[in-house]
Symmetry: C2
Subunit: 240 residues, 2 copies
């Protein structure tokens, strides 16, 4: 065992479903959307078509509520063969505005942990999604002052992390990322030789899931039950 | 006269309608949108309602094509009292995808000027809009390598510029911003004591326009005819 944590200077946190609830907001919106379309199609079909449209549209619209909303509207039109009414589509737009205005609900222990790490490590947020929405959530979260740097990115690939480290002149071995998405927060960070911890959230968007087969090539993958275990992990690893 | 240009170390450029054409893409999309709604309403009414919806929705959706598209859809539903068909709304979504896929057309002399300034000044892009779209345009523009820093922001207020300067440790008197929007690129930069040059584009979105009354409080406002005058301005100012 190496004394990994001794060398960690910077800890980056994903935001959505790591610092505050997010997937729940999408799930509720999706449920309302399905309810709206039930007179036209069955639930399984609506759900799978929306998922496909969303993933297909990522290349055009990127992540976030605005792109999700455009995908809901496109799905609604396609699944009803254009029979969906204007007022029903208006409800989808209202759904988007509700999503954007949802209160920011911090996850358990997040603020306490950040407060204790603040000053001992350089703290970061690295989040993907719509720029304005992510900024607004960070401002409303009350957590902004704990972070030295905020990076809002369009995607989270190894290249994304490599560029962030390079831009700030940080070494990979001094960098730790903490997040709920294996695909976005953990594996690409491990790919560039930096450290990452996975803290799973009770629900994960299918698109962010990773197959067991892929996971087998990451034998050093470390998972924590929740953010309150982070300090214990840092301590334990540094004393080895 | 002070020897302003002597002290300039960093030159930041707005992107849309400063480095490449952008407003034209919105104007064409808007024309197609009006065409689509003409069976329901008259042009003047459509145009003004879309403008109002767009500005009203900025607080929810921010700048960029995705928010503009959601505003077009909302306007279409409201102006037709819900009578707009699903296939017509689908055309609006297709319009958005066309906008996002529009080729990046550089403005005259942009690349030549950047090539000559590169290495002599620290060069920046500061642009607002959708994250993925702006990144994609910069990549497709072929200009990315001229810039030391790229900042994609959700809005351009004095606070936005103050934060950028602070984050990089730059002094206001060493910073010059060049852009086509008085409201976003010029006045807020002058407000924080940095320098700004206005290069107008043949069309400006109404929301970005500034009243004569406001302009009177900026007697030092400097306008160039086009980007090719920038080096002359730098030289002239430094020799004073």
């Amino acid at each position: 065992m190496t004394s990994d944590a001794l060398s960690i200077k910077t800890i980056a946190f994903d935001a959505d479903d790591t610092l505050w609830r997010n997937e729940d907001i999408f799930i509720h919106a999706q449920d309302a959307f399905i309810e709206l379309l039930l007179p036209y199609q069955n639930e399984v079909f609506i759900r799978s078509h929306l998922g496909e449209t969303q993933v297909k549209n990522l290349a055009h619209f990127g992540y976030g509520i605005k792109g999700f909303t455009l995908s809901m509207i496109e799905t609604a039109i396609e699944l009803t063969e254009g029979r969906i009414s204007g007022s029903e589509i208006h409800q989808i737009i209202q759904l988007a505005k509700c999503m954007l205005a949802s209160p920011v609900e911090l996850l358990d222990q997040v603020e306490q942990v950040l407060k204790r790490l603040h000053g001992r490590f350089q703290l970061l947020v690295i989040t993907k999604g719509d720029l304005l929405d992510q900024e607004s959530k960070l401002a409303r979260s009350g957590l902004a002052d704990y972070f030295d740097v905020v990076e809002i990115v369009s995607d989270k690939t190894p290249e994304t992390y490599r560029q962030i480290l390079q831009r700030h002149g940080w070494k990979a071995e001094e960098f730790l990322m903490v997040g709920n998405s294996l695909k976005s927060d953990v594996l690409p960070v491990m790919d560039i030789g930096a450290k990452a911890l996975h803290i799973s959230y009770h629900s994960t968007w299918e698109h962010e899931q990773v197959s067991e087969e892929v996971l087998q090539s990451y034998p050093l993958l470390t998972r924590l039950k929740d953010i309150s275990q982070l300090e214990g992990w840092l301590q334990q690893t540094s004393s080895r």
